[in-house]
Assembly symmetry: none
Homo-oligomer: 178 residues x 4
């Protein structure tokens, strides 16, 4: 597994439009570097995101289900997404929110249900953050050292199927480090 | 290029939770079918979306740029997304909005700039639709018959680079039909 | 029932404002064609949307109720809307969201209630997608082949009345194909 | 032209769920009355909204254009909407916002352009109200006494065409009072 090293090219040389535009135009990633932008060493790579999505899709195909799969990075920002042909449209948002929820609270979304029902401690938490998902299908993605590098959200079938597909994605990421 | 035919398996057999959950669990797409959900025959497939993204990434690599690439279907709904390592975080939303804008107005987003400057006809159009993007980088995706099947949005570098990468994605989709 | 065939007239002849404006001004749909824009063959037509709304209104008049009725197309985008005189203002949004929910999950919204109560599988799903509606009144619209071409959402009375009016709209669409 | 008289049936007899639900179930509009809800005498009726939409569509057909047409009432709330087959998806929101803008500022949206360019008095106003539209296509709807009863927004072609179609809708409403 290629591990990206951190690199930050200070490309914003000025504060005006011209300097900014020029900096972007001049941007030339070094050979072997992740590019002109900031890339956090503990973040999920595009390669790993693809591995996670493919593993989730493979699980869905075994299940005979149609899934939306979203990957967010360690910052909770969308990294990759794929919707299988015929998968629910409403699950686009649910998959993305599952991934953001998992990373936002550093736990699988399946752990949120009991805590958020009426009478429980976090009752109503789902309306924060522009919508959290409080049922299963969001799982953390970790590197070989157990450090969280992102999260995966899967939506498109029963919660059990969603969870299984998301876990398949997370397992594939772990596997990739070996 | 495999062209998916429309298929809808009526899986909603009842009205209660159990029936709903059971229906989803029982969903078994027929062999060779796109699944249990609705898939519009004139819509972009996941395979084509991947082809478009890969072509845009390849172009970005030739440019030495780092891009966010978003694909929406013919209904303007997110189909696939990929962010290259180190690409701008703000470009996640820009790439998605570029794709939605292109499909929403059935034209490349580059055509909106001159029309939306102060004094021009569509000045201010960008604040509608929860944000349209009025500079280049959103391109239509068409099938072999010239029918729009979706759109691609690319963001992460200069507009010229964004446009070139988006057009590479669109060209790859056209090529795939041959 | 007139069935529209897909047609796309490439009207974007240039890249500047003038070309854009000119292209739109020059747009002349062919006789018998749906126009210069993209029209998906599997999408609901304006004629069918009107038929659905009129049938829902007729049902509401039989009920002595006042309804908001929304129609979305197969992509989940608003196609038509009508609010009867005196109908609830809050039901504008509810009707639209009911239609979008039904299409987003390819099922009547009435099937979501039991699944989304505390303790059930999809508890909290209503906060996704900028708000889903998890009670009845959203129904799918299908063509003669059973393919989903859109959805109808009705809001303004008891759920039972809303459902009955929405189903009347859906039935009228089916009837129109005969 | 039937003029609706104001009627307000106090249907909310209590503050609890049961009373509310019961009130809705018991709602029986009087014969000839606009219903159980509040209907403002100075508001546009569904009949008039339909007349306005049909007139705008007829104008669009003469133009050879494809339009989205939205009608809001005197309170700025969506009353009716229709999207012609093949009309721009992004124009759904633009048409609705044009109507809301016209009623929100009690003037045609075409009057906002000059006031909102850089240097002008209302520069930036378009980002308020969740998005105003500051180009033509939104027109006021008035009754025979010149009182504003709503507004129409049309989007889908050049601004000149949009304006002409919106004005056709407004003229038809005036005509209907004769």
């Amino acid at each position: 597994m290629k591990k990206n090293s951190a690199l930050f090219l200070a490309f914003c040389l000025g504060t005006g439009t011209l300097a900014f535009a020029q900096a972007i135009k001049d941007a030339k990633p070094n050979a072997g570097s992740p590019g002109y932008g900031l890339f956090l060493p503990g973040d999920i790579t595009a390669d790993l995101a693809r591995i996670a999505i493919n593993a989730a899709i493979q699980k869905a195909q075994e299940q005979g289900t149609l899934m939306n799969i979203a990957i967010v990075d360690a910052g909770g920002n969308l990294k990759a997404f794929s919707r299988m042909d015929g998968a629910f449209l409403a699950s686009i948002d649910i998959a993305i929110k599952k991934a953001k929820t998992a990373r936002g609270l550093n736990m699988p979304t399946s752990q949120l249900h009991d805590a958020s029902v009426p009478g429980a401690e976090l009752y109503g938490i789902e309306v924060t953050n522009n919508g959290l998902v409080i049922f299963g299908g969001g799982e953390l993605l970790k590197n070989k050292d157990g450090i969280i590098i992102g999260a995966i959200g899967v939506s498109g079938s029963s919660v059990a199927n969603d969870v299984a597909a998301a876990q398949a994605g997370a397992a594939a990421v772990l596997e990739a480090w070996r």
